[in-house]
């Protein structure tokens, strides 16, 4: 009984946090904009106003799902690595290089590219993962630095290996049609990657909660010394969670490229890795909830974009929302007084009913 109350409480709390974040941004909008109400209206309803914009929301949700899943895997083991971002970028770059240099039938071409990108992303995770596992090197700093290295490397590849000299802007050659992911809905850019992302959600969930490896990852996150005592190989877990996270993020990068773009043209990371962390936090590190978190984040992304286009409020406002959400959700003490009162009254009730005080249900 108490457990259900607690679950409801957690859900409510997430909603309140999100509401607060949005309200704060509204205040900023009011201060900034000449027509605040119009700007706010565009923000809230903009994504639903046209078919194309609704499509934008779903399109934006796809990469966020991948990086959200990647972050979940790493966060469950309490590894605060940012490698998802670099892996995403590297995955896309790998897909570009692969598809531009190979010929395969449609369907197979893209699947092979996605798989290869996953592997590339996994390789990215090896450095921070191994350093952490073997010598307890701070994975945050290593992954952050390594992301920069990966981006520079990717730019080098773009400039020197896959560049299309005939293109008006800095970009790779056009990616063959056989490698592109098909569209799912007319008049939008929603592509087959959506299906792949949902399939991966299922797999990652099953992995974390239904396999012994996922169990090991979760236990290491809860208590690493307990895990060691139980015979779990904590070295492998710490290494593999970043490798697996990199794999999923790498997949995401290639999916994004092959679904949304004609060429590889990123000169800097698109930043989905960081957003993935926000998504994971919103989802409480539960893979099953990642698509919902991704959808939400995508929605407010598009919302701020629409708002930026139609009013003079720049879309950087989105970062403020994200930041506030991140802080408030992980603030355990936020509304904890309320939660304490629920628990205390629940305990008192059990006492009066004559239940054993040891087992509080």
């Amino acid at each position: 009984m108490l457990k259900r109350k607690e679950a409801v409480f957690m859900a409510l709390r997430t909603l309140i946090v999100v509401a607060i974040a949005i309200i704060i941004v509204f205040v900023i909008i009011i201060l900034v904009s000449d027509e605040p109400m119009e700007a706010i209206r565009q923000f809230i309803t903009g994504p639903l106003s046209t078919r194309r914009r609704m499509g934008n929301v779903v399109e934006a949700m796809i990469p966020l799902t991948f990086t959200g899943l990647a972050a979940c895997i790493m966060f469950q083991a309490k590894q605060f690595s940012l490698i998802g971002d670099g892996a995403f970028f590297t995955g896309a770059m790998t897909a570009a290089v692969f598809t531009l240099n190979t010929k395969l039938p449609a369907g197979l071409h893209s699947m092979a590219a996605i798989l290869l990108s996953g592997i590339a992303g996994a390789v990215c995770g090896v450095l921070p993962g191994y350093l952490k596992a073997k010598w307890n090197t701070n994975e945050f700093v290593v992954s952050m630095m390594f992301n920069s290295i990966l981006v520079y490397f990717g730019v080098f590849v773009l400039l020197n290996i896959i560049r299309d000299p005939n293109s008006g802007f800095l970009a790779s050659h056009i990616i063959p049609e056989t490698a592109k992911l098909g569209k799912l809905a007319e008049k939008t850019n929603i592509h087959f990657g959506l299906i792949i992302s949902l399939v991966m959600t299922f797999f990652v969930y099953a992995f974390l909660y239904k396999t012994k490896w996922g169990f090991s990852i979760r236990m290491v996150g809860i208590n690493p010394r307990f895990s060691k005592h139980s015979g779990i190989n904590t070295f492998i877990v710490v290494l593999m969670c970043q490798v697996l996270g990199g794999f999923v993020a790498g997949m995401g990068g290639s999916v994004e490229l092959l679904g949304m773009y004609d060429r590889f043209q990123w000169q800097d990371t698109p930043g989905f890795g960081f957003d993935g962390m926000t998504v994971a936090i919103l989802a409480g590190n539960n893979p099953a909830l990642v698509p919902i978190g991704a959808l939400f984040l995508a929605y407010i992304r598009v919302g701020t974009d629409v708002m930026a286009r139609t009013s003079n409020v720049p879309n950087e406002a989105i970062y403020i929302i994200q930041g506030i959400v991140m802080i408030l959700i992980t603030a355990n003490a936020f509304l904890s007084n309320w939660r304490h009162r629920i628990v205390v009254s629940g305990a008192k009730k059990i006492e009066e009913d004559g239940g054993a005080h040891e087992s509080v249900v």
């Binding site: 010598w135 945050f140 290593v142 390594f146 970062y319 959400v325 603030a331």
Partner: protein, 315 residues
Amino acid sequence: MNQLFSIIFTTSFAFAVLRVSTPIILAGMAAVISERAGVVNIAIEGMMLSAALVGVVVSAFTGGWVAGLFASILAGMLISMLLACFALNLKANIIMCGLAINTMAKGGTILALYLITGNKGASTGLKSSSVPNIDIPLLRDVPIIGDILSNHNLLTYLAVVIVFLLQIFLFRSKTGLHIRAVGENPNAVNSVGINVRKMQYISLLLSGLFSGIAGAFMSMGYMNGFTANMVSGRGFIALAANSMGQNTPWGTFFASLVFGFADSLANSLQVLKVPTQFIQMIPYVTTILGISIYSISNASKVKKMRMKLANENVL
């Protein structure tokens, strides 16, 4: 190769190293004091960025770098209080908080810049001031040393003074002792009636202060004006420097110089035929190497000592 050496072994290169290291030294001190109190300050990056913008804006509107510098420091301290409030009082995960602050700073500075100047990229429209360089009268005439050490920005000299003062503060003063104790065993500190929270707040406040100065140097000393994302990871490199410096002010100082060296090297190597991207990687590779070497030596030092003593005791 010769060309490389002729670049490195010059006083101007050494001068550049000191100049480039300054923000890392200051941010490094921010890292030292917060780590000592057991508080991981990931938000140094965001504090620096915000302070950089605030300094530029305030100096433009008041016509002086002094006001700008103070505003930067204030900005750093305010943000650190925000971090303290959420991470310490509201028990949010401190790494997440740090990341959140960095995210908000990234967007917030561009937003603010846009609102003030209508420009999203740089503060070129603003007539901001810079902290002056100081030509030290007698020192500048000393051969070699004079060229390396004189005519630096005021904040560079301030950075070294801060290192010196922080060392004394941490190891000889009462508050410094308490802060160190809090970082090691907050329960012990609490049980004698010292307010753990207060110590953590003090250290975060100092951390914000140093970050503020670091940010001010970026936009009012190293460069003249604010550019979007101008801190480029220096706040994180500072964390690495602190690790390598074993959480001590002087150790972190020297570690910061190492990174400054790498950064300057990258700048100088532009003249060689190496692709720019690989040169740009150098500071980051150095950082990873740096903390890897540190963690490896830590781990193997302990292991070697154990095995050695185990061996001795058998014989």
